[in-house]
């Protein structure tokens, strides 16, 4: 028996622009069950990033209700949102976004520090364990400036897993990687889903999208296909 982990209900998003409000999402509804591995595809400018920013709480809907991991995001303050996100969603960026003055290990520990999730003594050990999972244990003490793009992204994935969130959200995680490295990242994602994580990932890579059980297609702010 599965539970819906993500529920977008008639979500409308408008941006204020110089020429008046611009509607980017036209009443999008989306449900993702626990344990699903979902690809979000669509042309550039169609609203993919906007939609998954609704899921992570990085942005807020103009109208409609967003429920993720049992919490209604509409009612959370920015601070509550940050703490909720830290515990429930692992965010993975296209440009990795490791903090440049912290080494890889410290980058992975940081979310645990922010959310105070594990006892301070255990954090380092846990981070090393996570880095080992992404085969980055030997790079733990390097600064981000000293490692490659693929290594950065694996470190970023370890960071996303730091607080053991049920949901991982990635916006074009392979967009800046060559296809071989991208494959390894994808395999890592598949493994995580196999261990019970839910994963939503925006991608432009057709090949990768085709390998996923569910593909959500976005066009002009509407979902075309992929609804079960």
């Amino acid at each position: 028996m599965t539970h819906p982990l993500i529920q977008l209900d008639q979500v409308i998003k408008e941006y204020e622009t110089g020429a008046g409000p611009l509607r980017v999402l036209h009443g999008v509804s989306l449900t993702v069950q626990e344990g699903e591995f979902v690809a979000v595809v669509g042309p550039s400018g169609s609203g993919k990033s906007t939609m998954i920013n609704m899921v992570t709480g990085i942005d807020r809907p103009t109208e409609g209700v967003v429920t993720v991991a049992g919490a209604c995001l509409n009612g959370l303050s920015e601070n509550q949102m940050a703490r909720w996100r830290g515990r429930n969603v692992g965010v993975i960026f296209q440009f990795f976004q490791l903090l440049p003055t912290l080494n890889v290990l410290e980058n992975v520990i940081l979310p645990m520090d922010f959310c105070n999730t594990y006892p301070p003594r255990e954090r380092k050990e846990r981070a090393l364990h996570l880095l080992a999972q992404v085969e980055m244990a030997d790079q733990a003490h390097k600064l981000p400036g000293a490692i490659s793009g693929g290594q950065k992204q694996r470190a970023a994935i370890a960071r996303a897993l730091a607080n053991d969130p049920p949901l991982l959200v990635a916006d074009e995680p392979t967009g800046n990687l060559d296809s071989k490295t991208a494959d390894r990242v994808f395999d890592l994602f598949a493994e995580l889903v196999g261990r019970g994580k839910t994963l939503v990932m925006v991608t432009h890579d057709r090949e990768i999208a085709q390998r996923l059980p569910r593909v959500v297609q976005v066009q002009d702010g509407c979902i075309l296909a992929g609804q079960p």
Binding site: R83, F93, F114, A146, R159, A160
Partner: protein
């Protein structure tokens, strides 16, 4: 619209878009310009007004002192002397006064009298309040002396007019009523000067002194260039008429007598002002440098589509110009107000009224000049670097921005383990852009070092004065007698008091010294025991006085002031003569030592009382006693003095006046206090610039790291964590700057202490490092660090996550 205009429009829009950054830079330019502008305003207004006020009293070109006084007829006779345009005489003398009642203690007062106060022509005294001129049994007090006289008379300042005081008239007491006040433009306040001044009528003069002769003669000459010759001729004429002429002083009517001290004071402040301006330039450097870094890709694009280096340079120059002009516009009215305020305060100390508040064209010109030039100088480096960035370099730059984070410092700090991550971030972020950190640290550290240096100067001065009064002037009180007394008679009486530790007999007089060159100069002679414990000379050359000087055909020894000797060209072993006047024989002496002295007049010369008696063939007489007590506080000094006076009067010896050491200290310190207040104002300005510099650095950091802030938000950082990281960084910088401050403050304190000592009393002060000032600055700098990070940190915490993560 051409390319340059387009780009310029864009840079101006950027100024508005980054309002907080613009505000910060503009403010810091403003504070720097304020520091310099304020001083220029003060100097300009004071110099102009002092000059104009001084000119308005028709200041004497020549001042001749004739101690015994000149008759009215002989005075008129001077009018026909060649080159003389106007002559006026005055009687100026010291006596003592006390409150009208049995309990008042005697204090010194300087009285002035002249024939027709309504027909003054030279050094004109202006009626102030109440009656003018003074009538019978009246005195009109110089307005700056009123509060002191009122206090001595035991009445309020407002109630001073109509109160009366008792004045000593050669042994008899006369009651005079304070009838009004008068303003003497060239008289400083009584607190600075030492004793009050008042004008009495010719009638009163006769009653007080027994005659109405004038002992001070003022001359106006027709040709200023010739005033030395005219003075010499006038002197000769007086001497032919049988007068003993004392000091002859030539004055420049265009320069107020206090202008010299003022110039030194403002120079010291001017140096600090320039330093402050330089520091404010650092913030411009930091900001422009950050701006260029931030816009490297834009510059790359501009160049890729055809902009040349010159175009880029001109485009960003507009931003710099805007910072300079806006900062100067903010500073100008402030500098005008504070500068005038400072000028008014100083003028008050000098007893001068300023003309109404007005703009100083000189200051406006200076502020415009430095306000625009300094930002350009400060921005030159980063501008040049930015304009010469190649397209390739520009597009190669990517990532989170604001320092790649893998410089040596960060790598070095990475090895320091065990810090909580949030603090590790704060520490390492602080060193991400080393040049920015360096400038900020320098600004803060110089501000702190100046602060400590000012406090050190203050305590050094206090200690120097205490040392002097304790060592060089080890006595508690100076007793002057109405008539000459024999030391062998009065010393035992005084020392019989149980709390008198030591008493010495001293004889002071003015004398005319004829130098080896034949030149004659007026000096003040101090004659005391050769083994005095109340005066510790600081000899720069030669030796001090010895026993038996002047006996057995030895020439008698005299020690002179070093600075004075330098000016007059006096050498060691020079033969000199001393003429004490009053029919005493001219005596022969030899210069044996040079002494540095900051309190006694520079024209002071020292001889031993023993040798003086020997040379003058007189024995055993004195006019003053210097006495040291067992207790030195003011209350004890007062009490014991009263008891000693009683003892003396029981023995028929009348004490004419007393001078407490605490009073001397008060005089010296009050002059000096002005300087310290001014220096404090400047160090506060510097600390302010330091704070602005730190705030500027923090807000640049927030701006550059907005993406990182978004990332931290995305991985669970709440506002507290964000604020903590930026606040922590600011505290780290404040702490490092404190260490730097410690290193800088010692040499700076020494230099400032030395400079101030040399400028004000011509001697280095004995140095005291203001240790409490260090603790004080630590607290201050941490406070500055906190305050400076509040706005940027809150800004960081309020960034919208989506906006901070979005790419432009």
């Amino acid at each position: 619209m051409n390319a340059l205009q387009t780009i310029r429009l864009k840079t101006l829009r950027d100024l508005w878009r980054n309002r907080s950054r613009t505000l910060m830079v503009v403010l810091s330019v403003a504070v720097g310009v304020l520091g310099v502008g304020m001083i220029v305003v003060t100097w300009d207004i004071l110099t102009t007004d002092l000059g104009r006020r001084y000119a308005a009293i028709n200041p004497a070109h020549v001042e001749i002192s004739v101690p015994a006084g000149v008759s009215e007829d002989d005075l008129r006779g001077l009018e026909t002397a060649p080159g003389v345009v106007q002559v006026q005489g005055r009687a100026v003398f010291s006596t003592r006064y006390r409150a009208d009642g049995p309990e008042g203690t005697w204090q010194t007062i300087d009285l002035i009298a002249f024939p027709d106060p309504t027909a003054q022509v030279i050094n004109i005294l202006a009626p102030d309040e109440g009656a003018w001129p003074p009538g019978r049994e009246e005195m009109v007090v110089e307005r700056a002396s009123l509060s002191e006289m009122a206090a001595a008379a035991g009445v309020s300042v407002n109630g001073a007019c109509g109160a009366s005081v008792v004045v000593d008239a050669g042994g008899r007491e006369r009651s005079l009523t304070i009838a009004g006040t008068v303003h003497q433009q060239d008289a400083v306040t009584a607190a600075v000067r030492g004793s009050p001044v008042a004008v009495v009528s010719l009638d009163t003069l006769v009653k007080l002194r027994g005659h109405d002769r004038m002992n001070t003669i003022y001359l106006i000459v027709d040709d200023l260039e010739q005033r030395a010759e005219v003075a010499a001729a006038a002197r000769e004429r007086l001497e032919r008429a049988g007068y003993d002429v004392g000091q002859v002083t030539l004055r420049d009517p265009a320069v107020h007598p206090a202008q010299d001290v003022l110039d030194v004071l403002l120079l010291v402040m001017g140096i600090l002002g320039v330093l402050a301006l330089a520091l404010s330039g650092f913030l411009v450097t930091n900001t422009i440098s950050a701006l260029i870094t931030q816009q490297i890709d834009q510059i790359g694009v501009m160049k890729a589509i055809g902009a040349d280096t010159g175009l880029v340079l001109r485009a960003y120059s507009l931003t710099v110009l805007a910072y300079g002009v806006l900062g100067t516009l903010v500073a100008m009215p402030l500098a005008g107000r504070t500068g005038y305020g400072l000028a008014r305060y100083l003028a008050g100390q000098l007893n001068i009224d300023l003309y109404p508040d007005r703009a100083s064209p000189l200051a406006v010109a200076v502020m415009l000049g430095v306000g625009i030039a300094v930002p350009f100088i400060a921005a030159a480096g980063p501008l040049w670097r930015g304009a010469h960035i190649t397209v390739r370099e520009a597009i190669a730059d990517y990532g989170l921005g604001g320092g790649s984070g893998d410089n040596r410092l960060v790598q070095g700090l990475d090895r320091v383990q065990g810090l909580p991550r949030v603090w590790a971030l704060a520490v390492r972020n602080a060193v991400r852009v080393p040049s920015r950190l360096a400038l900020t640290l320098l600004t803060l550290a110089l501000g702190g070092a100046t602060f400590i240096a000012v406090l050190s100067t203050d305590s050094s001065f206090g200690r120097t004065i205490d040392n002097l009064l304790e060592g060089q002037y080890g006595m508690d009180v100076l007793l002057a007698f109405r008539t000459e007394q024999r030391p062998s008679q009065v010393l035992p009486i005084v020392t019989s008091h149980g709390e008198v530790v030591r008493a010495e007999a001293w004889y002071f007089d003015t004398a005319v010294m004829r130098l080896a060159s034949g030149q004659e100069v007026q000096v003040t002679m101090f004659a005391g025991p050769h083994d005095t414990q109340f005066y510790q000379p600081t000899l720069s050359a030669g030796r001090w006085l010895q026993p038996g000087e002047g006996q057995a055909r030895q020439p008698a020894a005299v020690v002179v002031n070093r600075k004075w000797a330098d000016e007059e060209g006096v050498q060691l072993d020079d033969p000199v003569t001393l003429d004490l006047g009053d029919g005493a024989p001219v005596s022969e002496w030899v210069v044996v030592g040079f002494n540095q002295d900051l309190v006694r007049q520079q024209t002071g010369v020292f001889v031993s009382l023993e040798s003086l008696d020997h040379v003058l063939k007189r024995t055993d007489r004195t006019v003053t006693l210097e006495v040291r007590y067992a207790e030195h506080d003011l209350a004890s000094q007062r009490r014991i003095t009263a008891e000693v006076i009683d003892l003396l009067e029981q023995n028929g010896v009348e004490v004419f006046s007393t001078l407490m050491m605490s009073d001397i200290r008060g005089q010296v310190v009050s002059l000096y206090r002005i300087l310290i207040i001014f220096l404090m104002v400047m160090s506060v300005l510097m600390a302010l610039i330091g704070g602005l510099g730190l705030m500027g650095m923090m807000s640049i950091n927030v701006l550059e790291r907005s993406k990182e802030i978004g990332v931290m938000r995305a991985i669970g950082a709440d506002s507290r964590a964000i604020v903590q990281i930026f606040w922590g960084e600011s505290m780290v910088i404040a702490a490092i700057s404190f260490i730097l401050t410690l290193a800088l403050s010692l040499p700076l304190s020494r230099a400032m202490t030395r400079a101030v000592g040399m400028a004000f009393i011509d001697t280095p002060l004995s140095f005291t490092y203001a240790a409490p000032g260090i603790a004080c600055w630590l607290v201050l700098v941490l406070l500055i660090g906190s305050l400076a990070s509040i706005a940027p940190a809150l800004n960081a915490a309020n960034l919208s996550v989506r906006e901070s993560l979005s790419y432009e």
